[in-house]
Symmetry: C3
Subunit: 257 residues, 3 copies
């Protein structure tokens, strides 16, 4: 049975999420609707992209991901359907989808071009019917006008040299842990057994742990997390608050010669 | 596979919602349980009715909607099952169901009359088993004693004349948008190309937009929304807070001769 | 179709819950994933155990319950799979599972012993694959090394004599109701029609209600709730705040001779 996931910034006290779900099931009650999250910070594309990137590949190939974050088309953005890494995505061409993968897309179409609909609720009126079609095996190209490319935003890039890796915090999670964009692969390539210092805020550490609980309660842990990204936290504490760091804060790893 | 939706004011940190779900699946694991919302303001019948009315028709016909909002039977209210517009509803006869449709009900029964149960948790002990039966094709009349009618509350009514439409805010959504009870149909009938003014708080506007993004960031938009109701918001702002309006605030549309 | 439930303290604004769900569906898209709650207070084993104990038996026998609360293995706790009362549980051996049942377990194994995995996210990397296997009918013993027993914590015990029952509040629910560990069965055995006083804080009551609405609005109700436990609340009020009581507060029932 085909799966459609939902990722929105709509919260859960309104009718919006249930309206999308109802629309999908009303068209095809055989589809399985699975929530990714509805607690994305309103219109926060970076937050939504982080969550989607972290999970989409683990769903079965062919899963359709309906994304309703910053979808009002404020900047005249198109509504699109994309096939990317054997997954389908339906949403607004606001730059979000450019942040979740470096791979070239397989198929791409601009929705709402065959039977144009004016709506204040594209998630229900445009994305849901398109998601059902994709989940039912309809090809992207029959959903709308082909497009050559979709919007890419420039993500914060990690700077890596033999002497230093400089990254930034890309997500503060609900427990206050600071997830950076520094990949384990870059560290592994450059460290090569060298002595190193991890610097952030006024703090300096000379060790990266393998699990959270290697730090004592109240102490800082630094790990490569389950996304293979450098993460800084405080065991049973809120690192963002206690260290005064947040989204976009700089984290350095400095290698000694 | 039959669908049972859940709409409660129980929140998500307690066992209540999972207990209802478990009860349903324990009786019939083949049923699909879909959440509408569990973040209804405690005992807020208007909030629950707004959300349910906004979404129920989009679910497949025959869907069973279990409603656990203000269900303790404070005023001696009965527990009921209703068939209405080809959907089934199970809940407390507290006036909520009278707010979701103007249509005449198809079937109606008072639950808890065949094998009476005393319980502090009717959602699990009375509504869930009844919902499973309805979802399995059992008729309403075999669930309890037939009733002639269920409770209707008087909803705020829109007043419409050739000169003016007067409505009220019936829902402030999670983003602070003000949704009124003024239907597009009434406006379309009365406006007929006339010059008009929309008034609320100290504000006056002479235009209704078709999409949110026709207003600049920080500016007011006025649209007929996806429920075909007049909605007032501020692009990327919280209209309720910034305009000082809320539930029950008056909104007028005045037509010039 | 097999059911896997999820109970975590991860909240809903991060990728964690969806990552567990995606992993399960990615391995076997036929499994039904049902949320119990993701709003457990971080690392609060008592909260998680209360919710799980309150609902697990109502799910169909054979359901797999994946529990991700305090799972980082802070104290060197093992990851385990248990069969208990014909249900399966996968999680961390942190004492939680000892709180949900007094029955002897049917099967028990230490996970992560066949192909050891170092991970900061055991819910996704260890629990999810194990849950899928259990849901697919794989025996617990083939998932890891058999263990003789799992960790039991001593729960607050009720003290009951002919003269008095002394219990404590074991959960303050989202509405502020105080749920105690005093079972209806103990009261029924000891009361035998005697006059009694229920004491908590500075309050004394001589009556136990059968439903919430037997108390007037703003008044205290005392009931044996749907878990057959003594519960104290205030009709349309927050008892915890208004009575100044909370988790672990003492409640006495004193019988007169």
């Amino acid at each position: 049975m085909a799966i459609v996931t939902l990722l929105t910034d709509s919260g859960e006290s309104d009718h919006y999420v249930a309206a999308i779900k109802a629309k999908i099931l009303g068209i095809n009650p055989g589809i399985r609707v699975e929530d990714i999250s509805h607690k994305i910070k309103p219109s926060d594309i970076a937050h939504a992209a982080f969550v989607l990137k972290a999970v989409f590949r683990d769903f079965p190939k062919g899963t359709v991901h309906l994304v309703g974050v910053d979808s009002t088309g404020n900047r005249g953005d198109s509504y699109i359907a994309i096939q990317l890494e054997d997954h389908f995505f339906v949403g607004c061409d606001n730059g979000l989808f450019g942040l979740i993968s470096d791979k070239t897309h397989q198929q791409l179409a601009e929705l709402n071009t065959i039977n144009s609909i004016v709506t204040t609720f594209p998630e229900r009126d445009i994305f849901a019917p398109a998601a059902v079609k994709l989940a039912s095996g309809v090809s992207i190209t029959s959903l709308g006008k082909p497009m050559p490319s979709f919007k890419k935003m420039t993500d914060r890039q990690v700077k890596a040299t033999k002497k230093q890796i400089t990254g930034t915090v890309i997500r503060v999670d609900g427990m206050g842990n600071l997830i950076t964009n520094i990949p384990k692969a870059a560290f592994d390539t450059l460290s090569q057994g060298k002595v190193f210092t991890v610097q952030f805020g006024g703090e300096k550490f000379r060790k990266i742990h393998t699990t959270y609980h290697q730090a004592e309660q109240g102490e800082c842990f630094i790990v490569f997390n389950s996304l293979a990204l450098l993460e800084i936290g405080i065991n049973r504490g809120n690192a963002a608050e206690l260290l005064g760091l947040g989204y976009d804060s700089v984290v350095n790893i400095i290698f000694e010669e």
